[in-house]
Symmetry: C2
Subunit: 258 residues, 2 copies
Amino acid sequence: METLKIIKIGGNIIDDQITLNAFLHNFSKIKGKKILVHGGGKLATQLAAQMNVPVKMIDGRRITDAATLEIITMVYAGKINKNMVAKLQTHQCNSIGFTGADGNSIVSEKRPINTIDFGFVGDVVTVQTQTIDVLLKGNITPVFCAITHDKNGQLLNTNADTIASELAIGFAKKYNVELYYCFEKNGVLKDINKADSVIENINTSTYKTLVADGIIADGMLPKLANCFYAIAHHVQKVCIGKPDMLFNPNPKHTTIQA
Amino acid sequence: METLKIIKIGGNIIDDQITLNAFLHNFSKIKGKKILVHGGGKLATQLAAQMNVPVKMIDGRRITDAATLEIITMVYAGKINKNMVAKLQTHQCNSIGFTGADGNSIVSEKRPINTIDFGFVGDVVTVQTQTIDVLLKGNITPVFCAITHDKNGQLLNTNADTIASELAIGFAKKYNVELYYCFEKNGVLKDINKADSVIENINTSTYKTLVADGIIADGMLPKLANCFYAIAHHVQKVCIGKPDMLFNPNPKHTTIQA
């Protein structure tokens, strides 16, 4: 099977124009089929402040009310996504910006209210690969932002890590999918204060120990959950680290194994 | 040749949610291949006011400075475009939102500075139909907002009427293209105070007389220029009127002829 690389980048790359430009330049040079998934970084928070829209939090979790969803749609799907697409075109990487509504590619449902009403947040229900695949075959690179829709006209804010893993799983029947989570660290660290204490391989068994020992905690828990979810659903390769892992030979990073 | 309908809608449809929903419902029922092009309406001006970004005008012409371009990108390509796409999906009209940067479909150049520097405003240079055509053949409806790019990483604000006529001309070799400009009036009016004084046919010769007599003036001049430009470049049919002209049998509207 042909390889498809799905690469997710976060705020640390998006928030700095020079870092982002360098990344997009390198990304455009990656041979073969690829999909880029991006989060939002600090820009949405900045716009909310500028528009006097308060950030709504419950129990330390951010709530997506109607005003926040509007801001997210403008910043993620508008400003960030379209500027990335324009930049990729300068590097001869022909791309098209996507939300899950485009091509009906990612349908989600509004997260059910248990103790917290997260507002307009979507949990992915289905990924439709057909249209995206037509574009991939036409040498076009889809660039996804972290927005989906419910097929009833409602856009929904959706975690970018989840979008990346769901796309990876959706394409795992057709392609040898490699999923790369790029973030600010070299990988999963044994000691959070030591940048080079990268755990190079984590499997289901060592994962449990690392969680029990408190080495994997907080924000790393949902990220790793996405990784193992992908691995359990036929994604061939899942890696976490700095974007360097994509471009240079063998920089340290974490590889997730079944 | 197969027919391709290119339909441009303006602010009067976009600014009112009920009108827009009704339009999108009817639009989704149009059989055959179609492209939707939309402007921005009042929403960008509203956001600019909310963000305290002053509207810059020179000689009554709006200037697109960097802050304004950012707002336009967020509102046109984010908020308006993605909500339209989500809404069309509810009507089983599979669509993808586009700027000219997406698929490298519309390349423009920053308008040269003569007496006025319009800022980040783009005049269309080339339309690339290949990727859009792949989508049309896959029963997908592209939805274009009024933004293009210069292939050097710069997004540019571009007149939506022009985008519609340039797309129409670009596809005129492959399709029997029909171009519809939907606006708030029944068509070009003989007497601006009489809604039913529609001039049903205008050709190159009568156009000159209507301009000389001052019947076609102001904002109608660039609109008509786009119409005749399209007709002169093998677009089969160009109509101006209310969206009704698309959905109902024979409501009054203006048809442009060579």
